[in-house]
Each structure stands twice: as structure tokens, then as C-alpha cells.
């Protein structure tokens, strides 16, 4: 028999046998006993996990004091040095779902494997699925035994050191990671089979469900361009010669800002393109064709615009994931906001 690992269990005030809605303001507490459904959980996992106890917290207290509760939970997880954390199941309960998910997220951030169970419509599934393994359950506590059994199957698999297979095979909600795998047929054969099925009206399964794209609400127009301070920005990879910040030519992970006014004009002598996704010959000959500092300086001189900001922001938009682009965009936007006097941005792409 493999050595057992230490675990911890989270429930709300109801399943923690303190009381119903009237006790939802109960502050977080820890007991070294297994409480309520915890007894069944310990029984199911008796050969694999030793639970050090149960954390109980009122649903309202948890969601209203989320930062304080997080500190207390993290302290307990560290104090008892657990390897496995189980919460719920929360079924279709909204606040309890958030509490279970948050508990799992804290555990995950400490490198502790976390497990919970929820009804598919519980909003916490989408919020926390990345941080833990959430098994699908019924809507109510009728599904307790089934839910705990499903959680236990995953915990046992983890304790045995086995890799988890596909979500639909293992019985957990997809966590949102697309992994490369090899299948029996090449892409061409799969495509021909798919089009035949689609034309015949037979069922087929797309390999890439269409993702939901967030829409960006445009800012209101600049009121008076003659007074506006404008920032130039590009994803075209125009950097000072030698690429001092080592911005990657593909899958860039960073951006940089350069004082374009200090250097005078952009020329082939002082700037270059490090973009790895287009032919950089012309951009290297005249970097202004990607980052139009020359035209902007003319517009500043004849007061078409108020002022060209001395800093230009640069990154490389080649193969960059949307997530990375979002992060870089947010970071740049924060810097601009901090400056406080930026009225508009011209963003050039390639």
C-alpha cells in the first residue's frame, strides 16, 4: 500500500452542521474532525488520504470577507502541509460554489491538488475550472454520494501518480487547456470525412468549437486634435538598433517604450525591425513606414496635433496569443493612464 497523503476538506455552515441560512454569517473555523459529508469522503479515501480536518465557513461570511478568509485558508493549508484539498460538492448553490472554488484556487496557488463537485450550471464552474478538478453533480444534495464518489475516483488516480485523461473520459469539467495529441488519421482524411458527414446531414464533431470573442467598446473621439497629446504604438517590432530589450521576433512576451524624440529621426542607422512574420527589408531601410514618427513630427510642427509623446510603445505581434496580447495591452494602458496627459493613441500593425 502506498503511503497516504494528507488532505483537508471544506464545507459551508449547512453541510458543516452549524445551521441553515440564519448561520450564513458564521466566521471561518477549523476542526480536526471530519464533519457531515466528510465522514463518507474519508471512508471512500481511507487507503489513500488522511484528512487532517474540516474547514467550515458561512456562505455569506466567505463571500463578504473573501480576502481575510483567503489568508486564513492559506495559513491552514501551509500549517498542515496537505497535498490534497477537497471542497463541497456545492451542487447548484451560488455562494457555496464561489466559496468552494475560491478554496480550491488558494490550494492550487500553493501547489496543492484541489477537487470539487458542482452542477454544470453553477457559475463557479466557469470561474474556477482552471484551478481545480470539478466533477459534474446533480443540482441538489441528492447527488451527494455520487458526487463524493466521483471526486474520490479522481483523488485516488492522483494519489496513484497517474496522469488524467480527457475530461469526458475521467468525468470532470474541461479546464480550458487545448493540448496537442496524435490521433489515428491525418488531418486530410479527417477533413474529407467531416465534409461528407456535413453534406449528408449526418452528425459530425468540430475539433475546434468557435470561441467567444470579447468586444472592445471604443473610447469617445478626441475632442480637439490641435491640443491632443498623441502616443505612437506598434506591433511591428521597430526597435533601436541591436534590440536592447531583446523583444522576441515571434511569440513576444514583452513590450518596450523608446524615447523617439531623443534619437531624432528614425533612420536605418538607429532603428530596425525585429519582427519575424513579415519581410523587414523596407522597414529596415525606413523604420518610419511602420512607426510613422516622421509624419507625426510634421503634424506636430504644423499643429495638426498638439504634441507627439516622446515615448513610443513597441512589441512584436507575430503568433502572439490573445491572452498575452490582452496582458500587454493592459500593462501599456496602465502606464498611459499613470502619465495622465495622453489624449490618444495611434496603433500601427503589420
Amino acid at each position: 500500500v502506498a503511503q497516504k497523503v494528507k488532505g483537508i476538506y471544506y464545507v459551508n455552515q449547512f453541510f458543516g452542521q452549524i445551521g441553515g441560512e440564519q448561520e450564513a454569517n458564521t466566521p471561518l473555523k477549523f476542526t480536526q474532525d471530519m464533519v457531515g459529508p466528510g465522514n463518507l469522503l474519508q471512508e471512500l479515501l481511507k487507503d489513500y488520504v488522511d484528512f487532517v480536518g474540516t474547514i467550515i465557513c458561512g456562505d455569506n461570511y466567505f463571500t463578504e470577507h473573501i480576502q481575510d478568509v483567503a489568508v486564513e485558508i492559506a495559513a491552514l493549508l501551509k500549517q498542515y502541509d496537505v497535498k490534497v484539498a477537497v471542497a463541497g460538492p456545492a451542487f447548484n448553490a451560488g455562494r457555496y460554489g464561489i466559496a468552494c472554488g475560491e478554496f480550491c484556487k488558494i490550494a492550487d496557488s500553493l501547489g496543492i491538488k484541489a477537487f470539487s463537485g458542482m452542477y454544470e450550471g453553477n457559475p463557479a464552474v466557469d470561474i474556477y475550472k482552471k484551478h481545480c478538478y470539478i466533477v459534474p453533480t446533480k443540482m441538489s444534495a441528492q447527488g451527494m454520494q455520487e458526487g463524493l464518489s466521483a471526486i474520490s475516483r479522481l483523488v485516488i488516480k492522483y494519489c496513484k501518480g497517474k496522469e488524467f485523461g480527457l475530461p469526458e473520459e475521467e468525468g470532470y469539467f474541461p479546464q480550458g487547456y487545448r493540448k496537442n495529441v496524435f490521433v489515428e488519421k491525418n488531418g486530410a482524411k479527417r477533413a474529407v470525412e467531416m465534409i461528407l458527414a456535413k453534406v449528408k446531414g449526418e452528425p459530425f464533431a468540430t475539433e475546434l468549437p468557435i470561441p467567444h470573442f470579447s468586444k472592445v467598446t471604443p473610447s469617445p473621439p478626441v475632442k480637439d486634435m490641435k491640443k491632443a497629446k498623441i502616443v505612437l504604438m506598434t506591433t511591428g517590432g521597430i526597435v533601436p538598433k541591436g534590440n536592447p530589450d531583446k523583444i522576441e521576433s515571434c511569440f513576444a512576451t514583452k513590450f518596450a517604450r523608446y524615447n523617439i524624440k531623443e534619437m531624432g529621426k528614425l533612420t536605418a542607422l538607429n532603428y530596425e525591425s525585429v519582427h519575424g512574420g513579415y519581410d523587414t527589408k523596407y522597414a529596415n531601410e525606413d523604420p518610419n513606414c511602420v512607426l510613422p514618427v516622421d509624419v507625426m513630427l510634421e503634424m506636430e510642427a504644423d499643429n495638426t496635433i498638439g504634441k507627439l509623446h516622446e515615448f513610443a510603445y513597441v512589441t512584436v505581434g507575430n503568433g502572439m496569443s490573445v491572452e498575452m496580447a490582452k496582458n500587454i495591452g493592459k500593462a501599456i494602458a496602465l502606464e498611459l493612464k499613470d502619465m495622465g496627459d495622453v489624449d490618444g493613441v495611434i496603433l500601427t500593425s503589420t
Binding site: 482552471k130 474541461p174 487545448r178 496537442n180 488531418g187 475546434l208 511569440f251 491572452e323
Partner: protein
């Protein structure tokens, strides 16, 4: 298939179609195979140019979709070359074909990020309900040391998709799939795909 169409590519290597792939085009081969068996009637190949201009994107995709309709096709498989720009054309073509009643399957690569948790493409249309994915280009892999190296190995650090300190002391090389020619080829050469975990 006789060399009249050859590869004319640059930069990012993974999602490119080599001349070999044109000469041994797996979709064309598969369609001929099914044609021979009587499972389908292979209508031909439509080449749709890709340019960066939006007006031309609209024009070329409209003409290609119209041609598909005029040929009386029930379905088309849309594959592409490269990423970024062509993703828009592919999706526009898919939308226009579907609007004309020609059913589509789209073949694509993904840029889903290192962990595979990012949006895979820059542009999607709701009509693209049948997609074959050839894999995520953003995955890091390690190539084992080789006994014989042809060419200047140092250039591996300059490739699109190269990593910092790519050359390890033991001779192995760290790269993203992106740097390997044809690794995510959209003609469907490989047996790779992605699954949601």
C-alpha cells in the same frame, strides 16, 4: 501534382506548405481516393489568393465562393497557408460559401498559447461549425541531440519561434513547434490535433 504549383514561402515555418506537400497533396489524394470509390464526385481545386487589403480579401473570397456555387459543389474543404492574415480570408470564404449553400470544413492551425488556454485564432465566423485543427503552434519542445548537423546550427536562435538559449550543452535544442517546417501544415499532412483538457 506535377510541379506546376510550388511553395513560395518565407518566415514562420510551422504552418507552411512545402513543394513536397503540393506534389503529394493529402487532401487532393484523399478526395481522389473517395472519388475512385464513388463516395464523392471530386469537383476540382479553387485557388483563392490572399492579400493584406480588405477590399481584395472581400473580392477574392466572393469570387471563390461564387465559383464553388457555379461548379455546383455541395461542399468544400478550405485549407490555408500561414497564420494571421490568411485566418481572415479563410473565415470570410467559409462564411460566403455557407451563405451560398455550399457546406464547408475549415482546416487550421492554432495559436492557443503555451498552455493552450488562449483564443486559438485571430478571427472566427459563426458559420465555421466544422473545423479540423492541426495543432497548437505555441508548444515548446526539445529536439534531441543529433550525430550530424547540416548547416549553421546557431541560426536556430534567429528563427521565428526560437527560444532564448535554444542550444543546450548536451546538443539538444529547445524550440517552439512554430520553428519546424510543416509541423502544423494546414493540408492535413500530420495526425496531430488538439483536445480540450
Amino acid at each position: 501534382m506535377d510541379g506546376a504549383v510550388v511553395s513560395g514561402n518565407c518566415v514562420t515555418a510551422c504552418d507552411k506548405n512545402t513543394t513536397y506537400d503540393y506534389l503529394n497533396h493529402p487532401i487532393v489524394e484523399e478526395l481522389y481516393e473517395k472519388h475512385k470509390n464513388g463516395e464523392l464526385d471530386f469537383g476540382g481545386v479553387i485557388l483563392c489568393p490572399v492579400t493584406p487589403k480588405l477590399s481584395e480579401k472581400e473580392k477574392f473570397t466572393s469570387y471563390s465562393a461564387k465559383l464553388a456555387k457555379m461548379l455546383g459543389l455541395d461542399g468544400v474543404i478550405i485549407s490555408q497557408e500561414g497564420g494571421g492574415n490568411p485566418e481572415t480570408d479563410t473565415m470570410l470564404l467559409c462564411k460566403k460559401c455557407e451563405e451560398m449553400g455550399v457546406k464547408t470544413v475549415v482546416m487550421t492551425h492554432e495559436n492557443s498559447g503555451e498552455l493552450g488556454d488562449s483564443d486559438p485564432l485571430t478571427y472566427f465566423v459563426p458559420e465555421a461549425d466544422a473545423i479540423v485543427t492541426m495543432g497548437n503552434t505555441n508548444i515548446k519542445i526539445t529536439l534531441p541531440p543529433m550525430d550530424k548537423i547540416i548547416g549553421d546550427i546557431k541560426t536556430v536562435e534567429k528563427l521565428s519561434g526560437s527560444l532564448k538559449n535554444a542550444l543546450k550543452e548536451d546538443g539538444s535544442i529547445g524550440v517552439m513547434l512554430d520553428a519546424i517546417v510543416g509541423s502544423i501544415n494546414n493540408f492535413g499532412v500530420s495526425k496531430m490535433t488538439t483536445r480540450l483538457y
